[in-house]
C-alpha cells in the first residue's frame, strides 16, 4: 500500500468502522461515538476541580477494556475515547478558572489571572469564548505537527538506531524526565530507578520468577493498571484528603451580573492570533519533550504574551490576550505530547501513559518506531491504527470547534460540587474500576499499597511521573539491553560502541548535571509550583 492508501485506510477504519447503532438506516460508527463520548466527559471532568483528564482516562480504561475486550477491534474505540477525554479536559479546565478563580486542571491556573478578572467585570461569556478559541486553535496546530513529525521521526529512529542506540535513547528519556520533573533531579532519578525495580518483580526470562519472596501474592507480578492508578490517582487522593482535613475550608461562590457584548468578534479574534500563534509554537515545542508538562508551557506562553502585549489593559487585570496566551500554550501540549509516544514508544506525560497502557493491554498496537513502517508488499495493521488514531484526534478537534464552546458554557455548575464530597466518590469510582479489571479483592491491597507509595512520594517531594514512566518502559529497556548485549557477542562495553549511543548517554548525564545546579528563586510562582509538584 502507498502512503495515501494507508492514510485513507486509517480514516475509513474510524468513519466506516463497525456501527454502534443505526439512525434512519445510517450506522453510527462506534469509534466516532466513543470520541464524542470521551470529548464530552473530558470537558465535564476538566471543568470539575478535583478531576482531570489523566484521572478520567485512568478510571475509564478498565471499564473500556471490560466492555470492548482485548481484540484488535477494540483498539480504535478505546483509544478514540481516551483521546476525546484528553482533548475535552484540556479545554474544560478553563471553565472554573474563569468563573470561580479555581483551575479545573492544574494547567489552567494561569487562566485565572485574566479569566477571573474578566468574569468579575461581567465578561465571563467573552472570556470563555476566548479560552475556547485559543485552546482549540493550539490543539489543532499541535495535532498537525504531530501528524507530520511523528512518522518522520519514527522512520529515522528505525533506520538509524540499533538495539544499543534504542536502549541509550530510553535511558536518555528516563534521565530527562527524572531531571526536569520536580525540584531535585536526584530524587527524580531515585523514583525512576525505583520504577525499574518494581517492574522487575516477577518478570524476567527465567522459569523461577524473580523478587517474589516465593509468595503466591507476588508470583503474578505487580498489576500494571492498578499500580499506575494507585500511584498517580489514589496517592493524589490521599494527599488531597489530608490537606482538606487540615484546612477544612468551605468556599462561598459569588455570582456576578454579566454585562456588555459577550461575543468574540472576528476583529477580536484577529487581535488574538499573534498571541495564539506564539503560544502554540511554545506549547508544541515543550510538549514534544517528555516530562515537561502543560503547566510550564502555559507559564512560558503567558510570560511571552505579556512581553508582546501593548494593549490598554495589562496582563493580570483581565485582558483576553492573557487568556489566549496561556490557553493556546497549554492546549498545544496535548498533541505534541504524543510525538515521543508514537515515534519512540516513550510516554512523556500522564495522559500518554494511559494511551500506552490501553495499547499494551489490548495488544496489536505497540507505539514506537515499528508502527511507521510503510510496507508496500503487505499491509502493516499498526500503521492503519496509527492513522485511525490521527483521524480520531482530528474528529475530536472538529467536535471541539463546533460544539466545544457550548458544552464548556454549560459546565460551570460542576465547580459547585464541594471537593470533600467529590473526592471520596472518586476513590470509590477508582476502586470499582480496578475491581472491574482485576476481579480480585487482592487488587485493592495492591492499589492501596501503591496509593500509600504515591502519597509518601508527594509528601517527600519525590516526583511520581519518572516512577510511572520507568515502570512502563522497564520491559522495553531490559529487552533492548539484552538484545544489544547478545548482538555484540557479550561485549561489556556494548552500550558505548556506537557514537550515537555515547552521545545519548552523555546528553543524559549532562541533563542531570545541568538541572542539579543550584537554582535561582523563581520569579514566577507557577514555575516553582511546576518544579515542586
Amino acid at each position: 500500500m502507498t502512503v495515501l492508501e494507508y492514510v485513507w485506510a486509517g480514516v475509513l477504519a474510524v468513519i466506516a468502522g463497525p456501527a454502534a447503532f443505526e439512525i434512519f438506516g445510517l450506522g453510527v460508527p462506534i469509534t466516532v461515538l466513543m470520541v464524542f463520548g470521551g470529548f464530552v466527559i473530558g470537558i465535564v471532568g476538566g471543568a470539575t476541580p478535583g478531576l482531570a483528564g489523566p484521572f478520567l482516562m485512568a478510571v475509564s480504561l478498565p471499564i473500556l477494556l471490560s466492555i470492548f475486550g482485548f481484540t484488535p477491534d477494540a483498539l480504535l474505540p478505546v483509544l478514540g475515547f481516551l483521546v476525546g477525554v484528553m482533548k475535552g479536559a484540556t479545554v474544560g479546565g478553563a471553565v472554573p478558572a474563569i468563573l470561580f478563580n479555581t483551575p479545573g486542571t492544574p494547567d489552567a491556573m494561569l487562566t485565572t489571572f485574566d479569566g477571573y478578572p474578566m468574569a468579575q467585570k461581567g465578561q465571563a461569556g467573552k472570556a470563555l469564548r476566548t479560552a475556547h478559541f485559543a485552546s482549540v486553535s493550539g490543539d489543532t496546530f499541535s495535532d498537525l505537527v504531530l501528524f507530520t513529525c511523528a512518522p518522520f521521526l519514527a522512520i529515522a529512529v528505525e533506520a538509524y538506531l540499533g538495539f544499543g542506540e534504542k536502549a541509550a535513547l530510553i535511558l536518555l528519556s528516563l534521565a530527562f524526565v527524572a531531571a526536569v520533573v520536580g525540584a531535585s533531579p536526584m530524587k527524580g532519578m531515585i523514583a525512576a530507578f525505583f520504577g525499574l525495580f518494581v517492574a522487575a518483580i516477577a518478570t524476567g526470562e527465567d522459569s523461577h520468577p524473580r523478587l517474589t519472596f516465593e509468595t503466591d501474592f507476588l508470583a503474578n507480578g505487580v498489576p500494571l493498571i492498578t499500580a499506575v492508578l494507585g500511584v498517580l490517582i489514589l496517592g493524589e487522593v490521599l494527599f488531597a484528603f489530608e490537606q482538606m482535613w487540615r484546612d477544612r475550608r468551605i468556599e462561598r461562590l459569588k455570582k456576578v451580573q454579566q454585562e456588555g457584548d459577550q461575543r468574540l468578534t472576528w476583529a477580536e479574534r484577529k487581535r488574538l492570533f499573534p498571541f495564539i500563534s506564539v503560544s502554540a509554537l511554545i506549547g508544541t515545542g515543550i510538549g514534544a519533550l517528555p516530562g515537561i508538562g502543560s503547566t510550564l508551557a502555559a507559564t512560558l506562553g503567558y510570560a511571552t504574551g505579556d512581553r508582546m502585549h501593548k494593549g490598554p489593559v495589562k496582563f493580570g487585570d483581565g485582558t483576553p490576550e492573557g487568556i489566549a496566551a496561556t490557553e493556546a500554550a497549554n492546549s498545544s501540549v496535548s498533541g505534541a505530547n504524543l510525538i515521543p509516544v508514537l515515534s519512540l514508544g516513550i510516554p512523556g506525560n500522564v495522559g500518554a501513559v494511559f494511551l500506552i497502557l490501553a495499547a499494551e493491554s489490548i495488544g496489536g498496537f505497540n507505539p514506537g518506531p515499528s508502527v511507521f513502517r510503510f510496507t508496500t508488499s503487505e499491509v502493516n495493521p499498526e500503521l492503519v491504527i496509527a492513522f485511525g488514531l490521527f483521524t480520531a484526534m482530528m474528529l475530536a478537534n472538529i467536535m471541539n470547534w463546533i460544539i466545544g464552546g457550548r458544552i464548556m458554557a454549560a459546565c460551570g455548575v460542576m465547580s459547585r460540587i464541594p471537593k470533600q464530597v467529590l473526592l471520596p466518590i472518586v476513590l470509590l469510582l477508582t476502586l470499582t474500576a480496578i475491581y472491574v479489571q482485576e476481579t480480585d479483592f487482592n487488587a485493592f491491597y495492591f492499589a492501596f499499597a501503591f496509593a500509600v507509595l504515591g502519597y509518601l512520594m508527594r509528601k517527600l517531594k519525590v516526583p511520581t511521573l519518572p516512577f510511572v514512566i520507568a515502570f512502563i518502559l522497564a520491559g522495553n529497556l531490559e529487552t533492548s539491553i539484552r538484545q544489544a548485549f547478545a548482538v555484540s557477542g557479550g561485549d561489556p562495553w556494548f552500550l558505548f560502541k556506537s557514537p550515537l549511543s555515547i552521545l545519548f548517554l552523555l546528553i543524559a548525564v549532562g541533563v542531570i548535571i545541568f538541572f542539579s545546579r543550584p537554582k535561582k528563586p523563581a520569579a514566577n510562582k507557577a514555575i516553582a509550583a511546576e518544579r515542586d509538584r
Binding site: A183, M186, F193, F197, Q420, L429, T439, F448, L477
Partner: protein, 190 residues
C-alpha cells in the same frame, strides 16, 4: 525541597535499603546472576535489572545525601506530624471497615435473610442476582464515601448521606446495569 534534616533522612533510608536490596535480596531471589555463561555464550541474567536499579538508587541517594548535607540548616517543619498520624489512623479505620463490610455483608445477609432449609443456597450461586449482588457494594461503598466525607468535614450531615447513596446508585448504573459480564466488588471473589 523539604527541610535539610528530612532530605538527609530520605537519602539515608534510600541508601541503606537499596544497598541491602542489591547485596541480599536480589542475589538470593533471582534464578540467574547479573551476567552468566551458558554453553560458552555470555548472557544478561534476571538479576541485572533489579541490581542496576538498586545500585542506581544507592548512587543517587548518596549524591543527594552529600548535596543535602552541604545545605544550610533552616528552621522548618518536617512533612509529617502528629496530625498526619491521627488523620491516617481515622482514614484507614474507615477504609478497613468499608472493605470488611463490603466483603462480608452479602454472604451474611444471604445467610440471615435468604432461602433456608432445603432451598439453602451459597453466596456464589446468588452473587449475580438482585438484591444480593448489591448488598456488599452498597453498604461498604456507603461507609467509604459517607465516612470519609464526614471525616473531612468533621461532622455528619443527612445531605451527605443522601449524596453518598446517590453516587453509589450512579456507579451501579454505570458499571453493573448495562453489562452482564462485569461483577461489582466483592462478587468476583466468590
Amino acid at each position: 525541597m523539604l527541610d535539610r534534616k528530612t532530605e538527609i533522612w530520605v537519602a539515608l533510608i534510600c541508601l541503606v535499603a537499596s544497598l541491602l536490596t542489591a547485596i541480599l535480596w536480589v542475589p538470593f531471589d533471582s534464578e540467574t546472576p547479573p551476567i552468566y555463561d551458558f554453553r560458552r555464550q555470555t548472557y544478561i541474567g534476571d538479576a541485572m535489572l533489579p541490581m542496576v536499579a538498586a545500585l542506581g538508587i544507592a548512587v543517587c541517594a548518596l549524591v543527594h545525601l552529600l548535596l543535602s548535607w552541604r545545605r544550610q540548616v533552616t528552621e522548618a517543619d518536617g512533612p509529617f506530624d502528629k496530625l498526619t498520624a491521627a488523620f491516617f489512623l481515622s482514614l484507614f479505620a474507615i477504609i478497613i471497615a468499608a472493605f470488611v463490610v463490603m466483603y462480608w455483608a452479602g454472604p451474611i445477609a444471604l445467610a440471615l435473610f435468604g432461602p433456608s432449609g432445603d432451598e439453602a443456597v451459597t453466596y456464589r450461586q446468588m452473587r449475580s442476582t438482585v438484591p444480593w449482588k448489591y448488598v456488599g457494594f452498597v453498604s461498604g461503598g456507603f461507609i467509604l464515601v459517607f465516612g470519609i466525607t464526614s471525616l473531612l468535614e468533621g461532622a455528619m450531615h443527612w445531605k451527605r448521606a443522601l449524596s453518598s447513596i446517590l453516587a453509589i446508585v450512579v456507579l451501579i448504573v454505570i458499571f453493573d446495569v448495562p453489562f452482564d459480564t462485569i461483577l461489582l466488588p466483592p462478587n468476583g471473589d466468590f
